[in-house]
């Protein structure tokens, strides 16, 4: 019984941890959207900044990946 409650808590926690990915999605969308709105204003400068955009995406995405990791740990490691 107690183990069942612990397992239930772990599953609910894993589901809740996945909401963190929504934040990462907003962040990545924000980075790319702003890049695109800047790039369309000045297309000649856009090519040199794609690397910066990917770095920004990577930093925003890292936090979403952390929430994914927490979900995985709750599912398989706890």
């Amino acid at each position: 019984m107690e183990g069942d409650i612990v397992q239930m808590g772990a599953y609910i926690g894993a589901g809740l941890a996945c909401t963190g990915m929504g934040g990462a999605a907003v962040g990545v969308g924000h980075v790319v959207g702003n890049f695109l709105s800047g790039a369309l204003r000045n297309p000649s400068a856009a090519g040199g900044q794609t690397a910066t955009m990917f770095i920004g995406i990577a930093f925003a995405e890292a936090l979403g990946i952390f929430s994914f990791l927490v979900a995985l740990l709750l599912m398989f490691a706890v």
Binding site: Q7, F54, I55, A58, A62, I65, L69, M75
Partner: protein, 252 residues
Amino acid sequence: MAENTADQSESALSFHPMDQFIVKPLFGGDTIHWYTPTNVTLWMFLAIAGISALLVLGTRGRAMVPTRVQSVAELAYGFVYKMVEDVAGKDGVKYFPYIMTLFMFIVFSNFLGLIPTAFTTTSHIAVTAVMAMAVFLTVTILGFVLHGVSFIKLFWISSAPLVLRPILALIEVISYFVRPLSHSIRLAGNMMAGHAVIKVFAAFAAITAIAPLSIAAITAIYALEVLVSFIQAYVFAILTCVYLKDALHPHH
């Protein structure tokens, strides 16, 4: 816990989506020693064989008008070279071979892992953590060798107002030491998540009513995964360049 869930949902899901990441010895037996050939070592070997075939055999002719294989090799070389030069600066070019090695290994592992029934070596945190730790240690040691103790100034942002500097220093220190973690988990997590999603949709294909939808979804996600495989290798390499730039020029 994984076995329990697989048993309970036997009717709907005949395999567990995470089963594809199990490390198995190639030649029977269950025990895995450090020298046991497993599916991980097999696919790592295939990645290295593929890289050698592309970069060593492909450019053997050194033709003025490149063959198809040679032009792909030249394209990869030029792509990584330009990335190192742009992000890490002119003096970062010295470390280009390291970043080229990392990029080619990750890109080949990712793409080989996309072959159905293949094993994705980069989906294991053990594999990516070794690479990320190597990058972290290289960059940290390099910073101290090149700049001595003044490398610590990396955390002391002199352009910020004096009141903010201690707080910023704390944030910088934390973000510096979380680098190997985020660097490795970003790659492993992306590869693992993509492959697991494909397997989840593959399980739905067993239900006749939604099978066409499921197969279409697998195709779409597979196309996305091809993109993600490349972008993650690119991101890993470019972040290595960013960390390298911090080690070469720690003063903001």
